[in-house]
Amino acid sequence: MLDAIKQPWPWYVAGALIGLTVPYLLLVGNKTFGISSSLRHLCAACLPANIKFFKYDWKKEAWNLFFVGGIAVGALIAARFLSNPDPLVLAEPTAEYLASKGITDTSALQPAEIFSWSNLFTVRGLIFFIVGGFLVGFGTRYAGGCTSGHAIMGLSSLQWPSLVATCCFMVGGIVMTWFILPYLLTL
């Protein structure tokens, strides 16, 4: 049993459990699923700086912070006790492409060639940590949600602006992956 759990979980198990978050949050407390708002609440809690956008009673949204705190704890449990001993199985063409860019270490969920402290003060670190993170935080708030708020919650409740946002997420990601990353990975 434990061996089966340690293997990577199939998409339909993960998808179903993630989808069930929508009714769970609605039924236990009338909350709508969305994760990126937690970043806004953290800003409102730590550094509101008299900015109108952060002047609200963030404590009323504390549930969201408990939820993301739970995510970190759950990830810790999974990594500590349920982790897959084998390297990641990557689609053949993706593996070949990444190898051509010098990324070959698939022993962990993140490529060590990019996401390590030794890259922090390099151009690579600047792009992958600082610029990338900034775009995620700025973009999700500007769009009013991320993959959870728009793609899952928004589409589940048939809101067409969320469909627009989801399509734009995909377009942005595809442009980056196909036209910009091939260059960035050589830096």
Binding site: I18, G29, Y56
Partner: protein, 172 residues
Amino acid sequence: MQNNVKRTPSAEALADLQAREQDAICVNESTLKHPWWYNLKYAAWGILFGIVFVKAEIVSWFRIQEMFRFESFHMYGVIGTAVVVGLISVLLIKRTRARTIYGEEIHIPKKEFNKGQVIGGLLFGLGWAITGACPGPLFAQMGAGFSVIIVTFISALAGTWFYGLLREKLPH
């Protein structure tokens, strides 16, 4: 528990709700006052969520690369299944007029269209492909021990903060 809970927010509370609802899908007003530990319900689901994130490898930069390169079905399967399950759940909740476990009427805020969903959406997409993470996986990556993601996370907070700062000047 089928007791009706009347919503009679004060003008002040209403203004605060509107501020929180701005550019966020995830707010919902409740007139119930609960002690803090009621929030553990959300932490518990978050823990399950974090385990799923890691075990289905959704938090992996590699999986996001596969997705955007159209070389694996995995992430499309995850998101597609989640949407279908969510859709059916919302339909059932609406059809049965289900209430929360505290007897409140369930309310899903309506999302208004603005240019932010396009411009912000594109910007987030660019960042998603670089970092291999949306905000949820950022928390999971940190939890799973990828400590350098703390830098990405702080940068994401800075991005959110600067959006708040520049909000009035940006097209919406």
